[in-house]
Amino acid sequence: MAQVVTPATLSHAAPDMDDAEVLRIRNDFPVLAQEINGSPLVYLDSGATSQNPLSVLEAEQEFYEQRNAAVHRGAHHLAVEATDVFEDARQTLADFIGARYEETVWTSNATEGLNLVAQSLATAGLWAERGRGDARLSELAVGPGDEIVVTEMEHHANLIPWQELAFRTGAVLRYIPINDDGSLQMDTAAAVIGPRTRVVAFTHASNVLGTINPVIDLVALARAVGALVVLDACQSAPHMALDVKALDVDFAVFSGHKMLGPTGVGVLYGKRELLDVLPPFLTGGSMITTVTMERAEFLAAPQRFEAGTQRVSQAVALAAGANYLSETGLDRIHRWETKLGQRMVAGLQDIPGIRVLGPAAGSERIGLAAFDVAGVHAHDVGQFLDSRGIAVRVGHHCAQPLHRRLGLTATTRASAYLYNTTSDVDMFLDAVAGVRSYFRV
């Protein structure tokens, strides 16, 4: 008799992660087993870039040792094998975010994915104006007086491409402001997103505040006015189960190196009906059907957006990283990181002179904490922590407008991942507690 598996029985079958499991996980990450400045490495900078498990390193090495060849060309054995593993990797990443195979485009990183969408929308106007391509392009085109909406908490990667799109097309860039607690002003969002809005681009989870944005509500506002939705999933895809279909976004981007993969590879998800009509971003080999000396016809997605020789080994290695996360369980990882994040925020709030950005302890947030230390510059905080082997990010975290809004120029950020223990967080908190006295504040 068939048994219905409900989420409740699934979560029962998979107990929460604990420190003992994390210690086993750490055995898969060789880089973590080292001393820095005489102390064990405490790596709390995964929000910037994550470390790689052996399975990822081995996947890349195995590709080069056994299958290296150009993909989608050549009839020889290695070319066929390389193409197979490359396209299998695409399917793995598609499954990872609930997308279809042909909706999953390889990019260099999330930044490239966002530039791809913005540039293609700019070119859509040109194509529509000159009668090239699909008739639907005139609906997608961004033109003078149209509006592009972002939020005040965006990473520069999800801000500057839209500023440039506005500049190129004569559109107006508007933004949804934040509240002091790091949440979006949703009342204002409902007013900012209006009939002229063509694109609403926002981050799923803030790389500075830790806020998880209400995607469903923002998508509803965008749908009501017929605007496209672009989701920056850099800080969500690596850390929580992501289902782009359930969220109903039009585009989503994320980077491989933040989710156990190598640098140089990322993913753009786009709805097929959009990807197949949008003008290509880069042009050249591998993305065409017929080429004459005068012009070219282009393939459908995903090849439409994959000009030139692709990052094959990186894609294969990223798939190994995605599998590592799926096998561990994204929901379990998310719960563990939430626990570490709450411990960080609560601990930081108890230290005199520390101001944590974003939602307070107890509120929903991802497993990171950016903070200001009164009287001590973030660079000095980072240097002090490094002397104890603790790796954190310092600076504006590619979010200058957000820092300006918060009255700061630079902050310190600790960000956790599935390989961080409770003890990592405690060593970090203990070190932060000593910063102000060291600098005589």
């Binding site: 400045n37 005489g38 001590v376 510059h377 973030a378 660079h379 000095d380 240097q383 002090f384 002397s387 310092v394 600076g395 504006h396 820092h403 120029t409 630079a410 507690a433 000593g434 006295s437 060291y438 600098f439 005589r440």
Partner: protein
Amino acid sequence: MAAAASPGPDSQNTVAPAQKGTALSLDQLYQQIILDHSKERHGSGLSETPVPAGASTGSSHQLNPVCGDEVTLRLAVKEGKIAQIAWDGDGCSISMASASVLSEMAEGLNVSDLRTLIDAFRDVLRSRGKIAADPEILGDAAAFEGVSRYAARVKCAMIAWVAAEDSLNQAT
């Protein structure tokens, strides 16, 4: 010193020189003179500092986009000597201390001596720990020697000095 939660830097000049290729201790980087100057900020306060009569001036704004360190510096030259350095700034202890040390050292120097000092400071800072600072030439600025071992911090120590060099070129 008690082994308390406040490890604080050792007193000035008691730190052992760093061995080549090994990490510096935090106290070797943050020498007492640096921490003191980061609080004193000698020369800071542009608007409160009137330009000496009859001096020619240059000014320069320098920004480190990585960390947001910022210095706006004005330099006044009179009769071939540095009459005054005044600056406003915001940044880490190393950037603020280096602006303070520079201001204190530069006043009264001949223009050519300041150029020599800036060149010597830059040589040490960009040497990745290979060139030892000569206290005879660099004075208090020799305390920044350890910074040269941290590529990410070299700009912090250089920012006011780059602003001074730019200002000097305008004023002379």
